[in-house]
Amino acid sequence: MVLLRAEGIHKAYEGQPLLTGVSLEVERGEIVSLLGPSGSGKTTLLRIIAGLESFDSGRVTLEGQDITKVPVHHRGVVLMFQEYALFPHRSVGQNVAFGLRMRRLPRGQIEARVREMLALVGLQGFGNRNVIELSGGERQRVALARSLAPEPRLLLLDEPLGSLDRTLRERLLEDLSAVLRRVNVTAIVVTHDQAEAFALADRVALLHETQVIQEGTPEDIYRYPATPWVARFLGLSNLFTADVVGEREVTAPFGSLTFDPGDFARLVPEPGTGGTLLILPWGIRFAEDHHSENMFTATVSRRIFQGRTTKLELAIGEERLGMTLSMEDRMPREGERVRVRIAPSALRWFEQDEVERVKEPVSPPDLGTASRTPS
């Protein structure tokens, strides 16, 4: 059952478009992530759903009811802010109790619920603490408890881990995911970090330049990016201008490749079509058998150690190809010549698109090191 439906939302501010015809549906019990770089309009959409921001045209319905004219405090939609917006003049317990008091629940019930919520986020006994004394991670959990306490119909989270440093973020990501699933809340999570989006959400909506550019499960999006921009945004950078020359054959600047028609494109292009070819990095492996198709000899031009993985940049003639190794893989030295095979199922095709445009500096977010710019 659809809980929230936003249809054709348009919004401009001082002549600058913020959202152009954005639509989004959220099922009851579903967690949807709005993923996009800063300036893509994701926070604006979140604030529109909360009722904190007006919009120029479109419709927002909650459980089938148009809520455009429903004031913020009657929507039952709670927003958890990026910097948490904890009330500094109230204790932890009073913060968590705030939404319950607004619902005029009896005191005993409020107290019980506050205890329950603090236990849920692992902050038993923090009720009388001053919020100013809390660490960043504790604040995040208080904000979560406060947001969940009144059992919102819909929970909105704006960069829930965006204000934390990296190591803390990774740990709290798992906790947050667990808590959201345990209480079975319907939620929209805004983030610029794909790892966060993928870890938290059942479904991801990717925003780019004021529009939803792709929607799907995290895996779908990662396996089948809809446009070269999406590929770049996800850190998939092996993009080449190419021509389809046969039923299963495409020519890239460094050579000819066989592709798997099932994965290649929704509609396999006619031979003779020009477009953009994406090679997914995990489809490139060192060749150990004696396949003849999709085999290339390359020189390791750079090796970048990144911790859990190592990135290799391979040179085939003038072209550069990126490949990801895990720790147990063989580590060639820089300058070493290697044989690689590109799996036919790791090739994707985008029609017409312009590699030129793609080569413009689109913020290439690395897993986990995404900048902390607020959106």
Partner: protein, 553 residues
């Protein structure tokens, strides 16, 4: 351990430098602040040459004096409440909305606060008296001069900007997400205001309100001139007992009461003020402000701007217009001595006196203030020393004047009637402003800068010239203008100690105002207009020079 010994030596050196810097300002406070206060205390307790503490109560506990104390509290409380009532909506409008001309309007609202009390009194006598615009609308019999209402209105005029500036500054930086979070948690706009906004603003509202209360409590010129003979605050009563009745023991007794109250209030203010600056993380203003959009918002903004225009701007314009009612003649006669009287001092002399005194005050206050600020900036937790130099701000000027009359009339410091004594009084009043301007600038200099300069071979005085001075020169200029303006407008202390033939501009204005006749009145208004111009120019300079993000009070 050798190391520890070295540490101790260093700590010793620091204490020595601290004491050395503080010596001269402290000595000054001792001679020109505490010594006169001691004289007051002694006079209030002395009867027939003997010290009798019981005399103090005896002198004070007359129905007349109790009425004065009650009135002082009552009018201050009413003035404060009314100022809050009118000022808080204005603070909200300035904090949360942006609109064209806002910066200029905001600067204009501060003008009343920097005006000398005699100018304000003159302006309101022009606005509230017969022949004013108001009386033309409301009928012949209209005359609000010498009424309780006139006092309250003038106090609101004076202090509106205190509320506006202090509360606005805090409110504008208040995180709007706190209010929005409360909204999404189910609180109605009213509920948000009472549960979130108001509690967060309360410290700053209390602090600003207390400051306004202190100002109204020690109000002198406004009550003396606008209130007329029927009304007396403690200040006015001290003045009358001294000047009109020469009852110095009673004046001293009243001063003791005044000192105790203002001391308590000022201490409370310093404590409150320390608390508001640290407790919240503040947001930049572009996050918190927007254009008024709904009709309600537009009306709200417009209504507040209109109020500011009527309350703050109109009296000043009326003053200037009235001063030109009979052409330029009041301005021309300022430079003449039409009566050729021996005791008549031509107005130009008063202008000259004021300028001379103000320049000397500026020099003296800068030297003392710089030393004090340099010492205070070296200590991290020095609220007591800080409060010490704020004391003159909370001490009434008339009390100070009385103290000088009592203490400086006899050896070892027989300074009564000299220009130097006026300079000393003004410098003392200006000192808190100077310290407040310099201290933040000095504290903003990271110690590593000085250490770097020292490591590169600069001796301490050279470090000051090369590092501190270039960083604080703006603050220094602000402090200088403050000292100059304070001196130009000072009325309370001067009215007690200035010789008849040595008047300053405010004294001359007061004399012109209290004499009958259209010519005297015209001269008072003309002189007030000039003094107002000086204050406005000085204030503009302060606003222009002030390093961004620093506070006035």
């Amino acid at each position: 351990m050798v190391d520890q010994k070295g540490q101790q030596g260093l700590a010793w050196r620091r204490t020595l430098v601290f004491a050395g810097l503080l010596a001269l300002p402290l000595l000054y406070l001792l001679v020109f602040y505490f010594y006169p206060l001691e004289a007051i205390l002694r006079a209030s307790l002395t009867g027939a040459g003997r010290l009798e503490p019981a005399l103090l109560l005896e002198r004070l506990l007359s129905p007349g004096n109790l009425r004065v104390i009650r009135f002082t509290f009552g009018q201050a409380l009413l003035s404060t409440l009314l100022t809050l009532l009118l000022g808080l909506p204005g603070a909200y409008v300035f904090a949360r909305y942006s609109f064209p001309g806002k910066r200029i309007i905001q600067a204009l609202t501060t003008v009343p606060f920097v005006l000398p009390t005699v100018v304000v009194a003159a302006a309101f006598s022009a606005v509230l008296g017969p022949q004013s615009l108001l009386s033309r609308w409301l009928g012949r019999g209209f005359d609000l001069r010498y009424t309780f209402a006139a006092i309250i209105i003038a106090h609101v005029f004076y202090n509106y900007t205190v509320i506006l500036r202090m509360v606005r500054g805090f409110w504008a930086n208040l995180d709007p997400y706190l209010e929005q979070a409360a909204r999404t948690l189910g609180a109605s706009p009213w509920r948000v205001f009472f549960e979130v906004t108001l509690p967060l603003l309360m410290p700053v509202i209390a602090t600003a309100g207390l400051l306004v209360f202190i100002f109204c409590f020690t109000s002198f010129g406004v009550v003396l001139i606008l209130g007329g003979p029927r009304f007396a605050t403690l200040e006015v009563e001290i003045y009358r007992q001294t000047i009109n009745f020469a009852n110095l023991p009673l004046a001293a007794a009243l001063s003791v009461v005044q000192i105790l109250f203002t001391l308590g209030l000022t201490l409370a203010y310093t404590r409150l003020q320390q608390r508001i600056s640290h407790s919240l993380d503040l947001k930049p203003e572009w996050v918190t402000q927007r254009r008024p959009q709904t009709p309600f918002e537009i009306v709200l903004v417009a209504a507040n701007l209109l109020l500011m225009g009527v309350l703050l701007l109109y009296p000043l314009i009326a003053l200037i217009l009235r001063s030109f009612r009979s052409g330029l003649s009041p301005y021309i006669t300022l430079f003449q001595n039409p009566r050729h009287g021996i005791f008549y001092v031509p107005p130009l002399t008063a202008v000259g006196n004021s300028l001379r005194i103000a320049l000397m005050v500026t020099g003296l206050a800068l030297i003392l203030g710089l030393l004090a600020a340099a010492a205070l900036s070296r200590r991290r937790s020095g609220w007591l020393a800080d409060a010490l130099f704020m004391l003159p701000l909370g001490t009434s000027a008339v009390t100070l004047g009385l103290g000088y009359l009592l203490a400086m009339g006899r050896p070892p410091l027989a300074l009564r009637g000299t220009l130097g004594l006026i300079v000393a009084a003004h410098a003392l009043v200006a000192l808190p402003f100077v310290v407040r301007s310099l201290l933040p600038a000095l504290q903003s200099i990271r110690p590593s800068l000085r250490e770097a300069a020292a490591l590169l071979g600069a001796p301490p005085t050279r470090v000051f010239v090369e590092v501190d001075l270039p960083i604080i020169w703006r603050a220094l200029a602000v402090a200088a203008v403050f000292a100059f303006t304070v001196s130009m407008g000072e009325f309370g202390a001067t009215s007690m100690i200035a010789r008849a033939d040595l008047p300053t501009m405010p004294i001359a204005i007061y004399r012109f105002l209290s004499r009958p006749g259209a010519q005297n009145y015209g001269q008072a208004l003309a002189m007030s207009s000039i003094l107002m111009l000086v204050s406005v120019v000085a204030f503009t300079a302060i606003e222009w020079l002030r390093p961004p993000g620093t506070q006035t009070f």
